[in-house]
Symmetry: D2
Subunit: 267 residues, 4 copies
């Protein structure tokens, strides 16, 4: 990360007033949002100050609005937060977005335009030519694209950064040191993915009970496109693909949590 | 069944013209409807001549409209039938109804009023005071209520007959001979019910994967009410309950097909 | 518990030398034994000082001998303990027994005869006429049988106390306050029991995958006998059964942990 | 297959006396044996005349000896056959062997030496330098090795032919036409394999319930060795490997029947 990248002040885990950085979560009632709320409870850097979701939930307390799926209880710090709508007027320093892809596109742009750094798990902006797709351990230098993004889009202090698809993240963390040490030409990856990845209600039990489903809509496309960007370079004006030969086959298996990936490299 | 009951002509498995009785299926694309279509293929008494469903499916061939879930293929005789809407102008002698309870109530009345005998698997009319809830081996005499139903409702040749909830049917077939031989006072029944009973998509895999769900909405109420009617009597003007003490506890289990019931009788 | 019961000194959770009470676990490598080892780690009253098992494991460290099945790691305090055989010469104040019923009978007697209090999860001595079958919240007074047991069997400081079958324990905890308040006459209980209750390897996956098995060998007999003793009384010379009408139906379900019981009382 | 191969007379599906060829099954009570018994019932070419198994089962009728796992009933033609031991004195023209690998090695040699053609599903002799590993659609010409096998081993009319591991069979059937048309250099294959492949009791439910097990003992070794022989050539004196780069990763999944294989070819 360059010294002047817009996130450099976040590297110090306090605000200028000495307090924790205040985080909001968009799409906080969904399954990814619940995971974020869980991870932000008692976080050493962040304080969860806002939860936002679609209109159906807004106005209720988080404890009442959420259909909680994790085994741990709803964090005490989140229970009494009132769920807000997707209006970019939240009391927080930045937002994590766990919005469904049906609404994430324009909503995340609204927040960035209103000055919020947006860190998104949604797929909508991942492949945008001026939006970093980020795994900090892999391609932190891609954050250098943010000033151009802000200039292109007329954002002031706000911007959008995305993280990759879950299956991509695990794969690329393994590929990165191999790419650096040996170079990579061809990758074949087969996944066995848990049902929680499809959200709730997600996969119908009639489809997966005692069964394996050798297809996950859009997943193979993401796994074949995103590593190209992650392992590629930001050349100052655009992202240059890594130019890998990449083939992915994704299977859904009757397991609640976790992904298993079998990878063949550079055959 | 009395000699003059409206179904007595159906007891001879041919029409007056010597042909098979022509059956229609309402709600033919759902999971219960699929089972009916499967059972009517190559049936010795019936010929499936019409399939009807909600507006979304109508106009397509059955093969294109249905998301088929059975392990056997779509019956050849059904593939090319054009799915009709729920207008009571079908070319058939009677209809089986597998309609969802959200639409079954008035739709079944429309067909009865238009002259069709309606044999329904839906719950809407089961407890109506002039509608037989029928297990032929248990309470065929309840068909004697049909003339009063027709008079009450202004139906001419049409009428409605229902079958009980799946868990009730298995229970009452067992209780009937015991009730006849010994009398019954108190029944406690616990069910373990498969996921197919909830239709498709039905139970979310996140809810049932490696789990048992000790609640099925409305099921215990049905299991505690329907046997009273089935084991009771038609006294010429109304159904008299059997007056049993009945308690049911229903569990969903991660099994595709079948129900298991554990019953305690007359403790 | 009477003032002079042999366990009364255990009610003070320290030894006379001010140290924690030293516990041994028999059958420590099996699935019940693992659970005991897990529960004894960092226990406020007990220090785990000995693990014992069949000859096949003895001589190895516990970390090497055990095929660990719990999600938490092997407790650090247990890893380096050397697994002993079933010889009653362990360095501990008493033993928990998780021995398989094929060996528990005489082995537990050997330890009691050698002076060890034996607290057993095995079924072998549960219904012995001079051995308490104990749920402390339910029938602590049954400990009064221990002096007669010691006299009958020629034990000095040692004795045997057992806990009931897992399904019985949950049932009787619920029945006890109802029995006290209202009296109980007849009980019908249906269980849905997880696969972990059968140990490891236990239930074959071919038997339980997508299935429910309506039979667990010996389980219904235990559930119908043990509550009679637990809810009955020690009259100074023998245990008097509670005289309940009790009927149990036990099912195995494809769930890893936990039991669900549906109970009908006093119909 | 050459005109003089020892199996050429089997290509005519009748014996010289015009009757069906009489087949025996070794290991008939195991899960693979049951499948063979099922497939031989009402077979147009074969009549099942003998079932043999370990000493524990011999002397009983097949219906009594077998713990039947298939959904179809035990074939009527097999029910009353008396299970014989593994003595090569069966009344049949040849045997299928479904013996466990712990006993298959010498038992199959005994039968071949006694004059029986042995067609084996066991792994013991698959990689023997004079035993064909056969998929008839792929490498029927490997049967030409039989005369040398008979000469080497002093067999007269008897011999041993094997079929590959289940996962290998599906893979090689797909690879063969591609190898013929394009040549193959490198293969990466990932399997998702059902629990029935491990026999009964096989996989413990505690290991596979809601889980995927990324290891099947010996399976990857077989999948990496057997295709080399199957896709290679018999040069008149020995089998010449295909010389492929082959990597296999095998996973057990909680499904009852079937294997799914994801293959990357010639990357």
């Amino acid at each position: 990360m360059s010294a002047h990248s817009p996130l450099s002040n976040l590297a110090v885990p306090v605000r200028s007033d000495g307090k924790k950085i205040r985080a909001g979560v968009l799409g906080a009632t969904g399954m990814v949002g619940q995971r974020l709320v869980h991870l932000l409870a008692d976080h050493p850097w962040f304080e969860l100050t806002e939860v936002a979701a679609s209109e159906r939930s807004s106005g209720k307390t988080y404890a009442k609005a959420v259909h909680w799926h994790l085994e741990t209880p709803v964090p005490a710090a989140a229970c009494d937060l009132v769920v807000k709508g997707l209006d970019p007027s939240l009391d927080c320093d930045f937002v994590f977005s766990a919005l469904d892809s049906s609404v994430a596109g324009p909503a995340e742009e609204d927040f960035a335009r209103a000055g919020y750094p947006v860190v998104s798990n949604s797929r909508n902006h991942r492949m945008d030519p001026d939006v970093p797709l980020l795994i900090p351990e892999v391609n932190a230098a891609h954050l250098d694209a943010i000033p151009l993004q802000q200039k292109n889009r007329g954002y002031d202090t706000g911007f959008i950064v995305t993280n990759p698809n879950c299956s991509t993240a695990g794969l690329v963390l393994v590929l990165k040191p191999l790419a650096d040490a040996f170079g990579l030409e061809k990758i074949f990856v087969v996944t066995l993915q848990a049902i929680s990845g499809a959200g709730y209600p997600g996969v119908a039990s009639m489809d997966i009970q005692g069964n394996v489903v050798p297809f996950i809509s859009g997943e193979e496309e993401k796994m074949e496109a995103e590593p190209q960007k992650l392992l590629g370079k930001w050349d100052g004006s655009r992202f240059v693909d890594a130019g890998l030969g990449l083939s992915a086959h994704c299977n859904r298996v009757p397991v609640v949590d976790g992904h298993l990936e079998c990878v063949s490299i550079g055959l």
